[in-house]
Symmetry: C2
Subunit: 146 residues, 2 copies
DNA sequence: TCAAGATTGATGCACTTGCATGAAAATGGT
DNA sequence: ACCATTTTCATGCAAGTGCATCAATCTTGA
C-alpha cells in the first residue's frame, strides 16, 4: 500500500531543494561544457556507457534503459554520435532487427576531454561545498530513492 | 580560492545519485501530469510564481530569474500560458518596454488541479521512501549547495 | 510450420528550444 | 537635451523533442 498522507512541510522543502540543486548544477555543467566547445552532457553519458560496454558493445535498447530516454530520442542521439564519428552502429550478428553500438577511438578521446571539464565543475560547485563526510551521508540518504 | 583536488569516490557517487534521483522523479511527475491530462511542470512553476506575486503581478524578467530559464524560453512560455487563458500580459504602467504578468482565475484553478497530482506523486515516490527525520537531514545537507 | 503478437529501431510531422538578432523604451554621461 | 549604452521583451530560423506509426525481424503457441 502506498502512503497517502499529506506531505509534511520538511518533505516539501527537501524535495524542492533537491530539485533546485540538481537543475542548477546541471545548468552549470552544461554551460561549462559549451564554454569549452564540448557537446552536451547526454553525449558524455551515452559514450560512457558505450565505453564501459567495451568490445562487446551495447544495444540501443540497453542504452535507452541506462539513460532514461525515450526510444526515438536514443535513436537520434546515436545518429548524431555516429555522424560526429564518436560511435558506430554494427548490425547485430544474431538479431537481424538490431544492432550493436561501439564507441570509437575519437569517442574515447572526447570522453576524457569532457570528463576534465565535468569533474572540475562538480568539484567546484558540489563537492567543495559539502562538509567532511557529507557526501557519504548524502549518498546514503538518497539510496532508498533509487 | 576554488578547490582543485580530485573528486573523491564518495563525492562522485553522491553526485551521480543526486542526478539520477532527481531526473527519475521529475520523469515520474511529468508522466503523471500528462496521464492526468495536465500540462508540464514548468507551467505549474510559472503559475505558482504568478500566484505568489498576487495582485501586483510579476515582470517576465523576474519570472525568468526564478525559473532559471533563458529569456526567450520564458517569453514563449508566457505566450502559451496566455494563449491557454491561464495568465495575462498587462503593459507596465511606468516602464514602456515592459509588462506585468498576472495569473487568471483559470490559472489558479489549474494550479490546484496540478498540485493534487504533484503532491501525490512526490509523496509516493519521494517522501514515503525516506526514513523518519531523513527529509530534514536531506534538506540540511543540500542547503549549502544552493 | 505458420499465423498472431511482440520487439527492435527509424522516421514524418508538429511543437519546443537554442541562438542570434531586432525593435522599443529607459538610463547615464557629457 | 542628446547620443550611446543598457534593459526588456519578441521572433526568424535551425536543431532537437514528442508522438504516432512504420517496416523488419524475432518469438510463441496451436
Amino acid at each position: 500500500m502506498t502512503e497517502d498522507r499529506k506531505l509534511e512541510e520538511l518533505e516539501i522543502i527537501a524535495w524542492a531543494r533537491l530539485l533546485k540543486v540538481s537543475t542548477r548544477l546541471l545548468d552549470v555543467v552544461e554551460r561549462e561544457l559549451k564554454a569549452a566547445g564540448l557537446p552536451q552532457l547526454a553525449w558524455y553519458d551515452a559514450l560512457l556507457e558505450l565505453h564501459r560496454a567495451g568490445e562487446a558493445g551495447l544495444r540501443p535498447a540497453d542504452l535507452q534503459k541506462e539513460m532514461l530516454l525515450p526510444q526515438y530520442n536514443v535513436s537520434r542521439l546515436i545518429d548524431r554520435l555516429e555522424g560526429a564519428g564518436y560511435a558506430v552502429r554494427i548490425p547485430h550478428p544474431e538479431d537481424g532487427r538490431g544492432q550493436v553500438l561501439q564507441i570509437t577511438e575519437a569517442g574515447r578521446v572526447l570522453i576524457r576531454r569532457m570528463w576534465r571539464v565535468y569533474r572540475r565543475t562538480v568539484a567546484e560547485n558540489f563537492a567543495s561545498k559539502l562538509g567532511k563526510g557529507d557526501a557519504g551521508r548524502l549518498a546514503e540518504l538518497l539510496k532508498p530513492l533509487l
